[in-house]
C-alpha cells in the first residue's frame, strides 16, 4: 500500500455512512467509534500479518461484524435506525439483512443519504462543507483546519454543532422521493461546489491537500450522478466544471514547484481525459430551462480547455459568458475575472476601466489576485512603477509561500526596460488581430 493512497480516509466515510444508516443518525458517535475500532484492529493485525489483498473489504467486514455484535447486545436497551427497526428485530434474518445493508449499492446510497443530511438548512454553508469533509471524506479536524486556514477550535465547534443538528434530525435524509430530493439538491450542489473550490482556489499551502479536496468533491459528485434522480442538467454542469478545472491541476504548479498562471501554463500537461469527460458532461448539461452559474463556469472553463495556446483563446466568447454570469450570479470576483477577459480582448486600459468600475471592490481588498490583476495590466501598458506598487500590495496579502513566491517574481519583473511581458502580450494581440479584423469586416458586410 502506498502512502499516497488514502485508504483509511476513504473507507472511513463509507463505513460511517453505512453504520449510521443502521444505528440511526442519533447514534453517529457510536458509528464513529466502530470505525475507529476497525482501524485500530487493522493496525494491530496488518502490522503483523501484512496488508490483506483487499484492505477495503477487510475493513468493511470488520465494521460489519462489530455492528452485528452491538446490535445483538444492545437491541433491547437502545433504539437504532427507526426506519430499519422491523428489519433488524428478526434474529433469523439478521445476517441476510446485514449482507444487503453492506452491499456495494447500499453503501453508495448511504453516502448520498449522509451527504444530503449534512446539507441541513439549519447549518451554514461552511458548516455543511466541514461536515461533509469530516464525515464522508474522513478528514480529521486538524486536516480540515489546515485546508481552510482556520483554527482547529473553530472547525471543532463547527463540526460538533453540525453533528448535534444531524442527531436531532432523527433520521437520515430520504433520497428516494423526488420532491425531497429536488428540494435539498441545490444545497448539496453548493456544498460540493464549495468543496471543489476550496481545493482549486483555496488558501492551503499544501498543493497535495488541495488536489485531494478537488478529488473528493468529484468522487461525491460522481455518486450523485449515478443516483436514479441524480442525472439532472445542473448536476452535469457541476460535474463538467469540476472536470474541466481539474484537468488543469497538473499544470498549475510547474516543475520547480511554482504557481503557474493560466496564461503561462504548459497546456500539454492538462489532462486530456478530464477535458473530454468535462466536455461530455457539459453537453449533457445543455438541456432543460435552467441556466445556472455552474453551466456558465463550466462553459468558460471549456473555452479555455479548447485553446491549445493562450493566444488561441476565444476571449470574446469568454467575455460574453462572464456577462451572463454577472446577470445571474454577480460578485466582485466574477467581475474581476470578467475584467481580465476584457483586457485580453480589448487591451489593458479597457481592463483597468472595468476593474475600477467593479461594485463592491472593497470586498476584494484582501484578495491578493485583485492587486495582481491591477499590476499585470499596468505592466502591460508600460506603467511598471504603478505595477510594482500593486504587486507589492499583492505580496503582502499572499496566503501561502507558493503565492508569495509567484507574486514576488511579478514584483521583480517590474523594471524599466523589461518589456518581456509587454512583448508577449503584443504577440498575443497581434495574433488575435487578423481574426478580430475578419470578424469586424464580417459584421460590416452583414
Amino acid at each position: 500500500m502506498e502512502t499516497t493512497d488514502h485508504l483509511f480516509r476513504r473507507e472511513a466515510g463509507r463505513m460511517v455512512a453505512t453504520l449510521t444508516r443502521i444505528f440511526g443518525v442519533h447514534n453517529l458517535a457510536l458509528a464513529e467509534d466502530v470505525v475507529q475500532d476497525a482501524f485500530c484492529r487493522a493496525l494491530e493485525v496488518w502490522k503483523f500479518r501484512g496488508v490483506p489483498e483487499n484492505p477495503s473489504a477487510w475493513l468493511m467486514a470488520t465494521a460489519k461484524n462489530r455492528a452485528l455484535d452491538i446490535l445483538r447486545r444492545d437491541r433491547t436497551a437502545r433504539t437504532f435506525a427507526p426506519e430499519l427497526a422491523r428489519l433488524l428485530e428478526n434474529e433469523s434474518k439478521l445476517v441476510s439483512v446485514f449482507d444487503e445493508l453492506f452491499s456495494a449499492q447500499s453503501i453508495k446510497d448511504d453516502q448520498l443519504r449522509m451527504m444530503f443530511s449534512c446539507c441541513h438548512p439549519k447549518l451554514s454553508e461552511e458548516a455543511q462543507v466541514a461536515l461533509v469533509l469530516h464525515i464522508l471524506c474522513g478528514f480529521g479536524v486538524s486536516e480540515i483546519a489546515s485546508a481552510f486556514l482556520n483554527s482547529e477550535a473553530a472547525i471543532e465547534k463547527r463540526i460538533s454543532r453540525g453533528k448535534k443538528v444531524l442527531a436531532r434530525s432523527k433520521r437520515l435524509f430520504d433520497i428516494s422521493g423526488i420532491e425531497d430530493f429536488s428540494a435539498r439538491l441545490p444545497a448539496v450542489q453548493r456544498a460540493l461546489y464549495l468543496l471543489f473550490n476550496e481545493g482549486y482556489h483555496g488558501a492551503s499551502p499544501e498543493f497535495v491537500v488541495r488536489a485531494e479536496l478537488c478529488r473528493e468533491a468529484m468522487r461525491l459528485t460522481a455518486l450523485l450522478l449515478a443516483h436514479p434522480l441524480g442525472g439532472t442538467p445542473v448536476n452535469y454542469a457541476l460535474a463538467a466544471l469540476m472536470c474541466l478545472h481539474a484537468a488543469r491541476l497538473p499544470a498549475r504548479v510547474d516543475s520547480m514547484g511554482n504557481l503557474s498562471s493560466l496564461f503561462d501554463q504548459d497546456r500539454s500537461r492538462w489532462d486530456p481525459e478530464l477535458v473530454s469527460e468535462g466536455q461530455r458532461f457539459l453537453n449533457l448539461s445543455a438541456t432543460g430551462r435552467e441556466l445556472t452559474a455552474y453551466h456558465l463556469e463550466a462553459a468558460i472553463a471549456s473555452v479555455h480547455a479548447s485553446a491549445h495556446r493562450t493566444e488561441d483563446t476565444d476571449w470574446r466568447t469568454i467575455v460574453s459568458l462572464y456577462d451572463t454570469l454577472m446577470t445571474i450570479n454577480p460578485s466582485a470576483v466574477v467581475a474581476l475575472n470578467r475584467a481580465i477577459a476584457v483586457a485580453q480582448l480589448d487591451g489593458p486600459e479597457r481592463g483597468l476601466e472595468e476593474i475600477s468600475a467593479i461594485a463592491g471592490s472593497d470586498r476584494l481588498a484582501a484578495y491578493p489576485f485583485y492587486f495582481a490583476a491591477l499590476g499585470e495590466l499596468e505592466l502591460r501598458r508600460g506603467q511598471w512603477q504603478v505595477a510594482r506598487e500593486h504587486f507589492l500590495a499583492a505580496v503582502a496579502l499572499a496566503r501561502n509561500p507558493m503565492e508569495r513566491r509567484f507574486l514576488e517574481q511579478r514584483v521583480s519583473a517590474c523594471k524599466r526596460g523589461n518589456t518581456q511581458h509587454v512583448a508577449s502580450y503584443e504577440k498575443v494581440w497581434n495574433r488575435q488581430l487578423p481574426a478580430f479584423k475578419n470578424r469586424l469586416e464580417g459584421e460590416d458586410r452583414g
Binding site: H6, F8, R9, F39, C40, V141
Partner: protein, 114 residues
C-alpha cells in the same frame, strides 16, 4: 545467529484522523518489511486481543485484564534473528511503537540443547 523475542507493549494508535492512523500503520509496514528483507524475521508472530483475564494464586483467582494500564499490555510478539542482544536492541530501535508511547521488550530465546 541467535533468536530473540520482541514483546510489544502499549502504544495504542494515536491521533484523531484516519489519515494519521494510516500513517502509523504505514510505518509498521515499512519497518517490518525492512527487517524481513534483511533476513531478521524468524516468525511474524501474532497480535493479541486487548482483552483477557489472569488466573493466579492457589485460589486460582480470576481477575479482569492482565494489567490495569493499557501501556503495560502486550499487544503482540515477534520472533527475530540477530547476532547478539546488542544487535537485537539496535534493530528494535526502528520500531514505530516508540512514537506512540509504547515499548519493546527484547528477550533472548533460551537455547536448549536436546
Amino acid at each position: 545467529m541467535s533468536e530473540f523475542t520482541y514483546l510489544f507493549r502499549g502504544g495504542r494508535p494515536q491521533g484523531s484522523s484516519p489519515e494519521q492512523w494510516q500513517q502509523q500503520m504505514q510505518k509498521w509496514v515499512v519497518w517490518i518489511k525492512e527487517l524481513g528483507e534483511k533476513g531478521h524475521i524468524k516468525d511474524h508472530g501474532r497480535p493479541l486481543e486487548r482483552t483477557g483475564k489472569v488466573v493466579s494464586g492457589k485460589e486460582k483467582t480470576i481477575i479482569d485484564g492482565p494489567y490495569a494500564e493499557a501501556k503495560d499490555l502486550v499487544g503482540g510478539y515477534m520472533l527475530i534473528e540477530a547476532k547478539d542482544l546488542t544487535h537485537a536492541l539496535e534493530l528494535s530501535k526502528g520500531c514505530p511503537i516508540f512514537e506512540v508511547g509504547g515499548s519493546v521488550e527484547v528477550r533472548p530465546v533460551m537455547k536448549v540443547d536436546l
